[in-house]
């Protein structure tokens, strides 16, 4: 087992290294330099050439890469070209915002999807089952931007008219003015979290449903039933425990994505998260920011895949490596 873990860690490190090469090349080979006269034709070409030269961007990407890797290994992500400050500072400022938003919506969608899935599974092919599946599929079939704007219009504009100017959800941002309280944050989170959760409830609930069905058809559950245990005890005590494991794994594999944000929802609700930052960085060719986000997600992806595989190996002795 130890040697398996060691091997997987080594492979993980090599993989990250390889990914850094590929992503580095991808950023550098994207046409359009990070600095152009397009932004301001009055800027002298010499100045831009000088800046590009100072950053080494005029050399082929494979000659720039060693310096990047060296800095990365020394813990430096470089300075953002557009924001002109360390990328690490930007990440510290923005990542928590995205994690708060996406994490909450993940928890809420699980909180709704898991009971919904169980409910549907224990009443397979009933009208309730059909109804939950159709409704949850509607959620997944609406484009996120349409959903977001409609939530904004109803929750923040129409609701205000409806309640005679007394209540509406905020139109933008994380906080209103100087109110940095938790309650204020919650009020600001309602619309974006709803928008994100609706999109994911369907996936999780259908997953939970089939996971539960799977377990309910297992021999030991049938045995438990045959022994005269009530449906409720069987369903919730024995079956649920086994059925919920896969969804935990699925959630664990989603965690790396929390840091990368959600550009459309963040844009619509003016949420200062990573999604918008990374998108703008891509458009601007702000290489250090793009690479930092991409490599952070790559690192977490590799890490969580590793953890998932190792935990399988620990839990299930049949899996041999």
């Amino acid at each position: 087992m130890t040697s398996y873990i060691a091997r997987r860690v080594l492979i993980g490190v090599l993989l990250l290294l390889f990914m850094s090469v590929i992503f580095f090349a991808l950023t550098r080979l994207t046409p359009g330099p990070p600095f152009t006269q397009g932004e301001n034709p009055r800027t002298h070409q010499e100045l831009i050439d000088k800046r590009i030269h100072a950053l080494g961007l005029d050399r082929p990407w494979y000659e720039q890469y060693p310096a990047y890797l060296n800095a990365l290994l020394h813990g430096s992500l470089g300075d953002s070209y557009q924001y002109k400050k360390p990328v690490s500072t930007l990440l510290v400022e923005r990542v928590p915002n995205s994690v708060i938003l996406l994490g909450t919506s993940l928890l809420i969608s699980l909180g709704i999807a898991i009971p919904l899935g169980i409910f549907a599974a224990t009443r397979q092919y009933s009208k309730v089952d059909m109804a939950t599946s159709v409704i949850s599929y509607v959620g997944i079939s609406v484009p996120s931007f349409v959903l977001g704007i409609f939530l904004l219009i109803f929750g923040a504009i129409y609701l205000r008219k409806l309640t005679g100017n007394t209540f509406a959800f905020p139109l933008f941002g994380m906080h209103r003015g100087d109110d940095q309280s938790f309650l204020d944050l919650v009020v600001h989170m309602v619309l974006p979290v709803t928008s994100l959760a609706i999109l994911t409830i369907a996936g999780f609930s259908r997953f939970m449903r089939s996971s539960m069905l799977e377990v309910l058809h297992q021999d030991y559950i049938r045995t438990a039933r045959a022994k005269g245990l009530s449906g409720r005890v069987v369903n919730y005590k024995h079956a649920l425990r086994n059925a919920i494991l896969p969804i935990i794994t699925l959630v664990a594999l989603q965690i790396p994505q929390l840091v990368s944000g959600a550009i459309i929802t963040e844009g619509i609700f003016s949420w200062p998260g990573m999604g918008l930052l990374a998108f703008q960085a891509t458009v601007d060719r702000d290489y250090p920011v793009i690479l930092a986000v991409v490599m952070l997600v790559a690192f977490l992806t590799v890490l969580f895949n590793l953890l998932a595989d190792v935990s399988y190996a620990v839990v299930d002795p049949r899996i041999r490596y």
Partner: protein, 346 residues
């Protein structure tokens, strides 16, 4: 939350989480295979019976059947109507944009027998857009583009993901490890960066490049699913029996394993198509959709906020409805196929 790669979380752009869930579920199921799983094995020569049975089961799934009928109607319209309409989708009347929908006027028609009748008539049933182009014609032609993107990109998923997954699962060992790590890289691939790079390199997105970009960055679900199937099936008794009888790898793969591994792939692929269609729409919203003059449901929704602000809601409602209906029907059909093909859940 929940999505795949940075910086554009794909499932937020579309309905990809479900595909992921299906894939993960299948993987887990394969990893924890119970003996009774072998009941999925379909004896050679019994395929017809299986598919027939599945078809019957599908038809019993009323919601799925209705969805399939709706989808078929949309597809037929999208394929044939644009041929009849010619350039109607791009003919502008830019001085008179925003023609409202459902405006009828009386029109005299002369029937063959020489009888004149007055009928309610409209030149543009669903109105016209900001440049005075017929909204209905654009909607139908846009549907063709959207479905084309969805189906062709999915074909790409199946070709790339299917073959890589099959190789990894069948040959295992080093090759498997290599391909799976490659898959990890694709998962971490920043989709929007690829889109921006390709757009900048080629001077704009075209239908073909859009399909290729989506296919090359999104095949991994199918790949992982295929691998899980092959890993499991190559150890099953009927494959071992075939091997003992001296069947070649080629024969084992194409004659024995592949037909038996299709169930979850078909389901995942069906659901994936709706994800791709929504992804194309989201790219349109971000401004990376297919350029003028070709319409797609995605680029018809480009700048839709402006249309709402101008109270030209119909220009948002029609393409949104088309998108939601199509995606919903595809998802429900996928769900139906899944229940029909998977007897364990009976």
């Amino acid at each position: 939350m929940a999505e795949k790669e940075t910086p554009v979380p794909r499932s937020l752009l579309g309905g990809d989480t479900y595909t992921k869930a299906v894939a993960a579920e299948q993987e887990l199921r394969m990893a924890h295979a119970d003996e009774d799983l072998v009941t999925t094995e379909i004896p050679e020569g019994a395929e017809l019976g299986f598919w027939k049975l599945a078809g019957l089961r599908f038809l019993r799934h009323r919601v799925a059947t209705v969805s399939l009928a709706v989808l078929a109607t949309i597809a037929v319209l999208a394929i044939f109507v644009p041929i009849l309409q010619g350039n109607l989708y791009r003919d502008q009347d830019y001085r008179n944009g925003y023609g409202q929908p459902f405006l009828f006027h009386a029109r005299q028609l002369t029937l063959p027998a020489g009888i004149a009748v007055t009928v309610p008539w409209t030149d543009h049933l669903l109105g016209t857009d900001d440049l005075g182009r017929d909204e209905l014609a654009r909607l139908i032609r846009g549907g063709r583009v959207s479905l084309e993107v969805g189906l062709l990109a999915m074909l790409g998923y199946l070709i790339i993901g299917g073959s890589l997954g099959a190789i990894a699962g069948y040959y295992r060992g080093f090759l498997d490890n290599l391909l799976m790590r490659f898959t990890d890289m694709i998962i971490a691939m920043p989709f929007i960066l690829v889109v921006v790079a390709v757009t900048a390199a080629l001077g704009g997105v075209t239908l073909q490049t859009l399909i290729l970009v989506i296919a090359f960055t999104g095949w991994y679900e199918i790949g992982r699913l295929m691998r899980a199937q092959f890993l499991f099936l190559r150890e099953s008794e009927f494959v071992q029996a075939a091997r003992a009888l001296g069947a070649s790898d080629f024969r084992i793969i194409f004659r024995h394993i592949l037909p038996n591994s299709l169930t979850p792939i078909i389901v995942s692929a069906t659901l994936g198509v709706s994800g791709i269609i929504l992804l194309e729409a989201a790219l349109g919203f971000l401004g990376y959709s297919i350029p003028y003059p070709e319409p797609s449901w995605g680029n018809m929704l480009q700048g839709f906020e402006d249309k709402l602000l101008r109270d030209q809601n119909y220009l948002v409602v029609f393409p949104s409805l088309a998108l939601v209906t199509t995606a919903l029907c595809i998802n429900l059909v996928g769900d139906g196929i899944r229940d029909a093909l998977d007897p364990r859940q009976r």
